[in-house]
């Protein structure tokens, strides 16, 4: 750390001297990053990434000698070279050699514009401050996000556990219900039999009754033979008889049986419904458990949720793991993750007029809350949307942020 700081100070001093009067030759290490500065000392310079040696006098002399462009770190002579801005107060940065003295202030310390007409203000302190503030915000955001993420993971564990438990429970419940249904069905079968027996009894009675009345009717029939519409008459008679039968059938016993059957049927139906519900539930849970919710199932928190984004013209609805819509137009169904959980791809949406089927790519990024924003249509009917979510915050990134902040202070 100490050494680096020394180099920074030395380089900044050099910059000041050079920056003031650019007609003087550039120092040999102008535009060199601290990591490589040691290579720019001595009488000879070995091109860093190609096999050539030049006298040190040819380094930063505004003529490109090395095929890799490393002999001109501080000038624009090599079109494949790089220039390092020290940016004291902010953070160091490589820019393309072509940006050196091109009239655009690329480095916040202005070190890239030492001989153009452009007078660059040193904005590193302000930018550095802004950056640090932003980094703090980012840190904050990350920290919050990570907190939420931890909760999400915890929730996910709970959810997964409870889901697994319910699955088990449900699976266990299935057999008893099946058993109960079976039992009920046996009961019902018995009742059906009883019903049949009772019916048979009634039929017997009926036969007796019929036999008694046959003689009478035969006589009547004989009388009525001349009547042309005897079919109709027969029908009427039949109906009358059946009504009589029914009157006879509505015996109390029979009614009891029927009620019993009805009751059993109801019970069976209820059980079956319950069975189906449970099976559906099982299927749903199984499907869910098959889904890829990322490491620690962190993205489970987005499952079953939908996020709306209103623009001037449309309301976009994004339901992770399910679907995306632009108003009533389908932008696709969830197909897969891409780029290590950075993107969700929804495809096979509504056919575009003269174009492809609509699709949308969701870019997930760390945020303290779940929020969809910035919907775009970069290609015809190919959409992009961003989704902030704590689920996308990661510890490593926060570490990097913290490290960067350490550096910039």
């Amino acid at each position: 750390m100490m050494m680096r700081l020394n180099i920074l100070i030395v380089s900044s001093l050099l910059f000041l001297i050079i920056g003031l009067s650019y007609s003087k030759p550039l120092s040999k290490d102008y535009g060199v990053s601290p990591e490589e500065i040691e290579f720019y000392k001595g009488e000879k310079f070995n091109c860093l990434r190609s096999n050539k040696q030049v006298p040190i006098s040819q380094v930063n002399d505004d003529y490109c000698d090395c095929p890799d462009g490393t002999d001109e770190p501080g000038t624009s002579a090599c079109s494949n070279g790089h220039f390092y801005c020290i940016n004291k107060g902010h953070k160091g940065q490589f820019i393309a050699s072509s940006f050196v003295n091109d009239g655009v202030c690329d480095c916040c310390d202005g070190s890239d514009e030492y001989s153009s007409m452009m007078k660059c203000k040193n904005t590193c302190n302000e930018l550095g401050k802004e950056m640090r503030e932003k980094q703090l915000q980012d840190q904050e955001k990350y920290a919050q996000g990570l907190k939420k993420k931890a909760e999400m993971i915890k929730d996910a564990i709970e959810v997964m556990e409870s889901k697994t438990a319910s699955l088990e429970k449900l699976r266990k419940e299935i057999e008893p219900i099946n058993q109960e249904i079976k039992e009920l069905e046996v009961l019902k079968e018995n009742k059906d039999k009883e019903k049949q027996q009772e019916l048979d009894k009634i039929k017997e009675k009926e036969e007796e009754f019929k036999a008694k009345t046959t003689l009478e009717t035969t006589n009547e029939e004989k009388q009525q033979q001349d009547i042309p519409d005897n079919d109709v008459v027969k029908e009427i008679e039949k109906e009358l008889k059946e009504n009589e039968e029914k009157e006879q059938l509505t015996s109390e016993v029979y009614d009891e049986i029927l009620k019993g059957i009805e009751q059993l049927e109801k019970e069976i139906q209820t059980k079956r419904d319950s069975l189906r519900d449970k099976q559906n539930e099982i299927q749903k849970i199984e499907e869910m458990l098959k889904m890829d919710f990322g490491k620690n199932n962190v993205f489970l928190a987005l499952y079953g949720k939908c996020f709306d984004l209103k623009t001037k013209e449309y309301t976009y609805t994004l339901c992770p793991f399910d679907r995306a819509n632009q108003g009533g137009t389908s932008l696709g169904k969830f197909e897969k993750w891409e780029n290590d959980y950075e993107n969700m791809l929804f495809t096979n949406g509504q056919q575009c007029w003269g174009g492809p089927k609509r699709s949308i790519k969701v870019s997930l990024e760390c945020g303290s809350e779940n929020e969809a924003y910035d919907v775009q249509e970069p290609g015809k009917c190919e959409y992009t949307i961003k989704l902030k979510t704590p689920a996308s915050c990661d510890e490593e990134h926060l570490k990097v942020l913290l490290l960067e902040n350490d550096h910039s202070f």
Binding site: D62, A96, S98, E377
Partner: protein
């Protein structure tokens, strides 16, 4: 951009009004190629049909000269021409000789009708052209006469060899070049002149049955059955149909003036190949359209917005230059047919009077005066000079416009623009201009901004401008008929619109919906239009903003052939049919003038890209080949199309890189960038329905390949700029067919898949998918020409070589004997390179010599026209490299230095290289790997003369 008819309201875009949408749907053909039913063939254009077919059986009698006299000033031969069977209607003939070996012939009615007039093309010829006094070679007798087109200083044999020989009966006009018959006018006797006539009342409107009958008759005629022609005084209904009224594809042309067509044939005697008459999507060498066993449509010149045009068709496209160039091993000659009406050109293989293989071209125009120039060459260089004398050279482009242009229909918002701009930097790819298509406007009202997506347009331009980049916005000639739109209300109240046949403002559909079209043929309208580009009129425009003119054929979605009705009326009661091919030219002119006038000093050269064009458009600005497609065949055809344009003077031209319609595969896109990098106008463009295709979107190796192509373009910008300057002196094309540089090599005459940039770089773009090797013709065997691969320095003798073409390879060769100025430092934009040092790339000939030029000025103003420039040459000869003024001394001051001199082909490595001024010894090294000598930091200035001695 009829392209755009395919559009549907994109889901993020505001929905179009229902009517427009329905209209679009009805306009759309879902097939992926041109809808032929929309565009006329010769058979659909009555004047072409009757003249092309009837002449097969010419019974009308030949035309003959009846009187000859010299004008008082002795600069013109005046004569009368009559048709053998129509002596009552004489024609006036005028023949003039112009400086620089050109002959002009004009024919009009001797006794025109009071209520009709023949249109003479205005504003195309330069006012500076001048005639010479006529000098007889053989004075007129009853058979013939001849005169020379040489200047009076020439000796009598030269005058005799270079003469025009006119035969009296039938009228034939023969141009001799160096004693050789070169162009024979009316050789086949196809002279036609439909004398203006009054409409005869009783046969005013033939009944529909009669039309039908007539069509049948005509069909019969096409099959070869002969018809007895009758005298015009007693026309039959058969003859009249189509003369006074004509229908096509649901559109009626009222034709109030009746038939006024003209026609004439020209035999290019001894011609091996003919070129020119752009714009067609065909080979550079024009194909035969007529003759035994050939049944092609004639080449058509009628500016049209053709949706999804096809390859290898003679159908008309967006622009027209009626110039045909004939070339054979002994001479180059040309014909310039000065007519802006619909024109068809048939080409036939014939034999001339001396039984030599020749090319006959038959020209038929619907209206207008007969007015043409014969250009006597005799070399390609002479032809370019002669044609440039007539119609001008290319306006010297601002240097930035030779860089790379990034366009798309559409960059949607300021954020989008900013993002694309930044991505170029992130990927370290230079570009100069970002373009905004029609969606940037408020409802297609040009000169306005869509304030939702472009709330701070001036800031946006300034952000771009800070990197010394520019912006281009589109401004089209159709004006939205909205009374709250200031352009429309002013144009209406001032009466500036084109009128329909009933004298009301002409209305048609275009992007904004109902639109009217400004009458740019009027000087007053043009001047008013120009004033609209003033910074206070065009709100939020800044000096970084330049303009794109599209749809100026003009495109009228619901008009005949997607264009304007021919009976529409322009300034001075001129019918649209007379000026059709000039409309886009005038529009382009008015816009470009506006950009010059908007600056107080009026000292900034304009940049305006136009789709429509005519002869002379080169003086105004750049041209592109319209709405091509993302197909290999369209990449391939871009070379012949641009070569044709270049031959016809339109040198600052390009094709949309990547192809406008559709989605190029990355390989096609990369190859297209490689080709575009060596074509004069270099712009990537894409249709709104196509996927994004900015250079970095396809990953490696494509991003690097595209970057390298663009970087190459930038490194050669000094060559491009110098070559464009040379064009202002010579008229020579910037992108050249090989035969122009090697006119005696017959094998090159039809080559159009490779070309030269200026006279020093030979380019063979790869235009085929998966092509891993290609053969390259390196010409000049007879002169022991050598060539150097610019990537490896490898030397090749003139021959046909087979080269490997992996994706990153662009086969480019520097001609031995040439010196090319380059700038090898790459910047964000060309303007940022202004102060960067030069690299001089010398490729020696076998005799160890080389020559090349460098032009430098302020890169943007008209100061060069007052001599404020550097124009110097590099000559390597006898081991001395000399840098000195080409002609007069240069006044421009520049601090730019030469940082490097690279010499290929040196036979012996010198011991020392000494700069004569002060005997300074220069540092140099010999790079064996590339067989080149490199002078390191010679610190030579470009505004002083100097010499280097190699010892």
């Amino acid at each position: 951009m009829i392209k755009k008819q395919e559009r549907k309201s994109s889901s993020l875009m505001p929905t179009f009004c229902v009517i427009f949408f329905v209209f679009l749907v009805t306009m759309t053909s879902l097939v992926e190629s041109v809808d032929h039913s929309k565009f006329k063939t010769c058979g659909d254009s009555n004047f072409c049909k009757r003249n092309r077919i009837n002449h097969e059986n010419n019974k009308e009698g030949f035309y003959r000269l009846t009187s000859i006299q010299l004008s008082d000033d002795k600069h013109s031969i005046l004569g009368d021409i009559v048709q053998n069977n129509n002596e009552a209607q004489p024609l006036s003939l005028k023949i003039q000789v112009y400086k620089d070996r050109m002959v002009r012939v004009t024919v009009v009615e001797k006794n025109p009708l009071a209520n009709k007039k023949r249109y003479h093309v205005q504003d195309v010829l330069l006012p500076t052209i001048s005639t010479l006094p006529l000098e007889w070679v053989e004075k007129p007798n009853d058979k013939q006469f001849s005169f020379t087109y040489e200047s009076s200083q020439a000796d009598s044999q030269t005058k005799k060899n270079n003469r025009v020989q006119v035969q009296i009966n039938p009228f034939v006009l023969d141009l001799y070049v160096n004693g050789e018959l070169s162009i024979s006018t009316n050789d086949k006797g196809l002279f036609t002149f439909e004398h203006m006539r009054e409409k005869i009342a009783q046969i005013d409107k033939p009944a529909p049955e009669e039309i039908k009958q007539q069509e049948q008759v005509d069909l019969n005629k096409e099959e070869g059955e002969q018809q007895d022609q009758q005298q015009e005084e007693k026309p039959t209904t058969n003859e009249v149909a189509g003369l006074w009224e004509e229908n096509f594809s649901g559109h009626q042309d009222s034709k109030p003036h009746g038939p006024m067509a003209i026609g004439l044939d020209f035999t290019f005697a001894g011609s091996q190949t003919i070129y020119g008459i752009p714009e067609h999507s065909t080979s550079l060498a024009l194909k035969t359209t007529k003759g035994e066993g050939i049944n092609e449509q004639p080449y058509r010149l009628y500016n049209l917005d053709v949706f999804e045009y096809e390859i290898d068709k003679t159908m008309a496209l967006y622009g027209a230059v009626p110039l045909i160039i004939s070339h054979d091993t002994s001479k180059t000659v040309a014909l310039f047919w000065l007519n802006a009406a619909e024109t068809f050109v048939d080409i036939e293989d014939v034999v001339d009077k001396q039984n030599r293989k020749s090319k006959n071209t038959h020209w038929i125009s619907e209206t207008g005066a007969m007015d043409f120039f014969l250009l006597a060459g005799p070399t390609p260089t002479d032809i370019f000079k002669q044609y440039a004398t007539l119609t001008g050279t290319t306006a010297l482009p601002q240097l930035f416009s030779l860089g790379y242009h990034q366009c798309r229909w559409n960059y949607k918002s300021e954020d989008d623009v900013k993002d694309v701009d930044e991505k170029f930097d992130e990927n370290n790819i230079p570009y100069d201009v970002i373009w905004l298509d029609i969606e940037h406007t408020d409802g297609k009202r040009y000169f306005t901004w869509d304030k939702n997506n472009f709330p701070t347009p001036a800031d946006m331009q300034n952000i771009i401008g800070a990197k010394q980049r520019k912006m281009v916005t589109i401004v089209d000639p159709h004006i939205k008929r909205d009374n709250n739109y200031y352009i429309h209300s002013e144009a209406t109240s001032k009466g500036y619109y084109v009128k329909n046949k009933d004298n009301n403002d002409y209305e048609g559909w275009c992007w904004p919906g109902s639109s009217s079209y400004l009458d740019f043929t009027s000087k007053e309208v043009r001047s008013w239009w120009s004033s609209n580009f003033a910074y206070d009129r065009y709100k939020d425009s800044t000096p970084n903003l330049y303009i794109w003119n599209d749809m100026n054929e003009p495109s009228v979605f619901n008009g005949p052939e997607v264009s304007m009705h021919k009976d529409a009326k322009h300034h001075g009661d001129v019918e649209h049919r007379d000026i059709h091919n000039l409309y886009g030219f005038y529009y382009h002119m008015a816009t470009a003038d506006g950009l010059v006038q908007r600056n107080k000093e009026q000292n900034d050269r304009s940049f305006v890209l136009s789709r429509a064009f005519f002869a002379g458009s080169q003086r105004i600005g750049a041209i592109w080949t319209g709405d091509n497609a993302a197909q290999w065949s369209h990449l391939e055809i871009s070379n012949p199309m641009l070569l044709s344009l270049n031959l016809a003077g339109i040198t600052f031209s390009g094709a949309d890189v990547g192809g406008f319609f559709g989605n190029p595969e990355p390989e096609l896109l990369a190859r297209w960038y490689q080709a575009g990098a060596f074509q004069p106008f270099f712009r990537g463009h894409a249709h709104i329905d196509s996927r994004r295709r900015e250079p970095w979107l396809f990953g490696e190796p494509y991003t690097s390949v595209i970057r390298e192509a663009i970087v190459k373009r930038y490194s050669y910008l000094p060559l491009w700029y110098t070559t464009f300057y040379q064009n202002t002196l010579t008229g020579a094309p910037v992108m050249r067919p090989l035969w122009v540089e090697f006119p005696k090599e017959e094998a090159l005459f039809k080559i159009d898949d490779q070309f030269m940039v200026g006279d020093s770089l030979l380019v063979k773009p790869v235009t085929k998918q998966g092509q891993t090797t290609t053969s390259v013709i390196l010409p000049g065997k007879d002169t022991k020409q050598v060539w150097y691969d610019v990537d490896t320095g490898k030397q090749y003798p003139a021959s046909t070589i087979e080269v490997e073409t992996p994706l990153e390879k662009i086969p480019v060769y520097q001609r031995g004997g040439s010196v090319i100025p380059k700038k090898e430092r790459i910047r964000r934009s060309s303007s940022q390179m202004k102060h960067d040092p030069y690299t001089i790339q010398i490729a020696l000939s076998t005799d160890q010599s080389a020559y090349g030029e460098l032009f430098v000025d302020d890169e943007h103003s008209f100061a060069y026209q007052k001599g404020d420039f550097i124009y110097k040459s590099f000559t390597f000869k006898d081991n001395v490299l000399t840098y000195k003024d080409v002609n007069k001394s240069s006044s421009f001051k520049s601090n730019n230095k030469i940082e490097k001199i690279v010499i290929y082909g040196l036979k012996s490595v010198p011991k020392t290289i000494v700069a004569a001024s002060g005997d300074r010894k220069l540092e140099f090294e010999y790079d064996k790997e590339h067989s080149r000598l490199i002078i390191r930091k010679p610190e030579l200035s470009i505004d002083n003369n100097w010499t280097l001695s190699f010892k």
